[in-house]
């Protein structure tokens, strides 16, 4: 039986409006069936190794997000390292990338280029000119912005 937290994750993936949504979900389902996608306390973790230490562990591997109130999936910045390969990329200027990590949206003027032209409302992996990813944003063609959905600035804003 599919756990309820996996359904929350699925809803979040569907909302990405990615061309590769099916591939992402196939991968996630495979991870779930292989017991490497697990829930520990409220964290959703993708295990990268196995050990006898795992049983008592509160954390290991890559945190994909956490399950918040009303079973809502709240993504963690590291999810971009897992689903990033399935997303189209927007390459931003340094200034745009810095502002994006402050939680701001990305203006189209700051975008240096795309790996593939995105559809309207499609979610993109936001990278700098070196190809280093900083988060995920939703492309809004009419408004000429990429709306910030998730960024690495969370590490500072959350005070960790």
């Amino acid at each position: 039986m599919t756990p309820s937290w996996f359904k929350s994750l699925k809803r979040w993936v569907e909302n990405l409006n990615s061309e590769y949504e099916d591939e992402i979900m196939k991968f996630m389902k495979w991870c779930l069936d292989s017991e490497i996608l697990i829930k520990k306390e409220n964290l959703i973790l993708l295990l990268t190794s196995r050990s006898s230490f795992l049983n008592r562990s509160v954390f290991s591997g890559i945190p994909l997000g956490e399950i918040g109130s009303r079973e809502r999936f709240i993504p963690h910045p590291e999810i971009s390292s897992v689903i990033g390969p399935f997303l189209k990329k927007a390459y931003s200027s340094e200034k745009g990338a810095v502002l994006f990590t402050y939680g701001r949206d990305l203006f189209i003027e700051s975008v240096l280029g795309y790996s593939e032209m995105p559809r309207d409302e499609e979610c993109l992996l936001i990278c700098d000119a070196y190809g280093r990813d900083f988060g995920i944003g939703r492309y809004k063609r009419g408004e000429r912005i990429i709306v910030n959905l998730l960024d690495r600035g969370l590490y500072l804003r959350k005070g960790y």
């Binding site: 190794s49 230490f53 008592r56 509160v58 954390f59 290991s60 945190p63 910045p77 590291e78 960790y160």
Partner: protein, 316 residues
């Protein structure tokens, strides 16, 4: 009268100044306290899990940061117009803000790829992420800390730095020998302490401690080192460190380990020698192989470090 005068001048408790005079002498104490007031240099460790060192340092220098090599590989002193913690490199986990002495502790552990390592008081994870880097994310690290709040910072630091070979437990490390049957190749014990060495960062420590805290912490540290040595394989290495310069928390704990366990101290290259005596207490000669770091001498936090090899395994 001098301790009272200095205590008033620097806003410290008088007993602390008396202890500093015993360690440094009068001139050294003034230099120590002046440096504590001025603060020490900032250091960053380049996290090679996240990228190539040359590229990361180049990007930092492009942003105007001035980097200087230190005696610990991948660790640089850093100066700049803004804090490196607000840089993209920090957010991507390409750098970690870590004091030089602290990085020397994790470096001294001498980990190798594929080993089993125990980090006993691991939060917030500066040394844990460094160990993972030195192990190239291979092998396994069991990172333990008793504070749930601090473990949260550890988890986010591990995630930010791309550490993949670590298992985090919320547990009092003193209880570990009854919970774990297998032994470790290496153990890092960065013990909880009075934090006397980090006054330059945390000014509240100037007045927050009383004299009996040293003996309270010392007892806890002795229990922790016993636990760590019990979990070590024969020939295994334990590195003991504190961010305190108080001998009760350092030389006394190592003397205890020498007395109770079959261990030897491995000399380290950098730092001042451990103390032979303090306020009438004498320590075994071997304890001078331990290392001390001081703000006014090494431009680091006050720090203590000892590298021990377990000669004969403890039966549990």
């Amino acid at each position: 009268m001098l301790p009272k005068t200095l205590a008033r001048k620097y806003g410290l408790r008088e007993f602390m100044v008396k202890r500093y005079i015993e360690i440094f002498g009068v001139k050294g104490t003034k230099e120590f306290l002046d440096k504590v007031e001025r603060g020490i240099s900032s250091y960053v460790r380049v996290n090679t899990i996240r990228g190539r060192e040359e590229e990361i340092t180049y990007r930092l220098m492009e942003k105007g940061f001035d980097l200087k090599d230190t005696f610990v590989p991948h660790v640089y002193s850093i100066k700049g117009d803004f804090s490196p913690s607000s840089s993209l490199e920090y957010l991507r986990g390409e750098i970690f803000l870590q004091d030089l002495s602290s990085a020397y502790a994790s470096f001294s552990l001498g980990v190798k790829e594929g080993e089993r390592v125990l980090d006993m008081c691991s939060a917030p994870g500066a040394k844990t992420t460094h160990i993972a880097q030195l192990m190239r994310n291979k092998g396994e690290i069991l990172a333990v800390d008793s504070s749930k709040t601090r473990v949260l910072s550890l988890i986010y630091n591990l995630a930010r730095c791309g550490v993949r070979n670590c298992y985090v437990w919320i547990e009092d490390s003193r209880k570990l020998p009854s919970m774990i049957k297998s032994k470790f190749d290496r153990v890092l014990l960065d013990a909880p302490c009075t934090g006397e060495g980090v006054i330059s960062k945390d000014r509240s420590r100037k007045l927050s401690r009383v004299e009996k805290d040293y003996s309270i912490m010392s007892s806890i540290q002795k229990e922790l080192i016993s636990s760590g040595l019990s979990l070590l394989k024969e020939g295994g290495i334990l590195v003991y460190s504190t961010c305190s310069i108080s001998p009760e928390e350092n030389e006394e704990v190592i003397s205890y380990a020498l007395e109770k366990f079959q261990v030897e101290i491995i000399p380290l290259e950098f730092g001042e020698r451990g103390l032979k005596s303090f306020m009438g207490r004498k320590y075994p000669r071997e304890v001078t192989k331990c290392r001390r770091f001081y703000p006014h001498v090494h431009d680091t936090y006050g720090f203590f470090l000892a590298k021990l090899r377990l000669v004969k395994e403890v039966k549990t």
